[in-house]
Symmetry: C2
Subunit: 210 residues, 2 copies
Amino acid sequence: MPVVGSGATDPVASEELAPIARHIAREAARLFAARGYDATSVREIVEAAGVTKPTMYYYFGSKEGLAEALVTAPLDGLCDRMRSILDREGEPRRMLARLIEANFEFVRQDPDRGRFIYGLFFGPLGSGLASELARFAERIEALWDEAMGRFVAAGLIDRSRVRGAVAALRGLVIVHTIEFLYRGTELGPGLPARLVADLLEGFARREAHR
Amino acid sequence: MPVVGSGATDPVASEELAPIARHIAREAARLFAARGYDATSVREIVEAAGVTKPTMYYYFGSKEGLAEALVTAPLDGLCDRMRSILDREGEPRRMLARLIEANFEFVRQDPDRGRFIYGLFFGPLGSGLASELARFAERIEALWDEAMGRFVAAGLIDRSRVRGAVAALRGLVIVHTIEFLYRGTELGPGLPARLVADLLEGFARREAHR
DNA sequence: ATGGACTTACCGAACGGTAGGTATTATCGC
DNA sequence: GCGATAATACCTACCGTTCGGTAAGTCCAT
C-alpha cells in the first residue's frame, strides 16, 4: 500500500499513482481549511473527491495519515528551501528577504494548504499532529535564529537584541501571511525587502526621532 | 432559561446562577483549548464539569451557545478596555504600550480562553462563530488604526507608513501572545514599552546604520 | 401548585474505519 | 500458450461507537 505521506520507495510507481491521491489531498486541504480537520468528515472528503472511503484509506491509511500527507512533505520542502537560502546567500538583508519570500511563496502555492497549516500551528495543543508540527516550528525558528545571527556577525544588530528581533520578524511574517490567507491581500514582490527595512529601521520619522 | 452568553435580563438571577455556569464554561475553555472545539464532545465537557448534558443545555442552549459565551463577553470587555485607554491616554507611546498591555492582560487572565480564542481567529473560515469573530477582529483592528493615527498626528510617524506600522504592531502582539500561550514565556511588565520602542526604532545598531 | 434546577434514558444521525469482494494486469510455472 | 496466482486499485455494505440534542421526569423552595 503506497502511503504518500511517508514517501514512496518506488518513484515511478509513486508518480503513476499520485494523480488520484493528489486529487483527494487537494479536496481535503480545501475542506480542512474551510471547516477544520475535526469538523470535516471522511465521507465529505471522499464525496468531494469522487471516490469511496476505502479508496482514501488505501492511499492514506487513515484520516490522520491524510492530514499528515498535507503537511509533512510541504513543510519539509519549506525548511529545505530556507536552509538552502542560508547556505548560499551571504548578504544579510538580501538573505533575510529571500527567507521571507520563501515563506510567502509557500502559502501562495496553495492557500488552502497554507490555511490548514496555519490553523494547525495556532490550534489546539492536543491534536494528533501536534508533536510533528512542534518539530517543524522548532526547525523553522532555528533557521530564523541563524539568519538573525548573521546580522549580529555583520555588526548590524546588537547581540542582546537577537531574541527580540527574531520575535518581531516572525510577527511580521505571520501577520502578512494571515492578511494574504484571510483577506486576499497581495504579498507583492517588494514586500520582503520592505519588511527587512522596517525590522531594522523601525517606523519613526527620523526628524521626529531627533 | 438564562443563557449566559446572551446576557441575562435579570442581573440578580444571573449572579446567583452564575457559579455552575461559570464552572462549566471554565472546563469547556480548558477542553476547547486543549482539543479544539470540534474535537471536544459535550459528553466530555459535562463529565469534566460534573454535571449532566441537559444541565449544560439549560444554561447555554447549545454547544455553540457555550462557545459563544466563552468569547463574546470577554472580547467585548477587551474592546471596551482598549477604547477606554484611547479615550483617556494622550501621550502616543504610553497609550500604545497600555493598549498592548491590555491585550496581554486579556490572555494572562485566562490562558485557556486565550488559546481557544486565538485558535478561532486563526482557524477555519467556516466555523459557526466566524462572522462574530470577524466583527471583533475588525473592531480591534480599527482600534489599532486609531492608535497609530495618533502617532501620525503627533508627527512621530509618516502617514504613508501607517498600514505597515499597524501590521507590524499586530505581528508583535500576536507573536508575543503566542509565545506566552504555547511556551509559557513571560509577558513582563516592561515588554509593552519595549515593543513600542522596537516598533518605532527598529533593531539596527545606530553606528552600523550610519 | 408552580417554577427553577437538575436528572435518567433515549433519539436519529453520523463518525472513522473495515470485511469481503470485484476487475484488471502482470507474472509464474507447466 | 494457458491457467493459476499475485498484486494493485478500487468497490458495496457494514461495524461498533459516539455525536448533539431532547422527552419526560424528579426534587426542592416558595
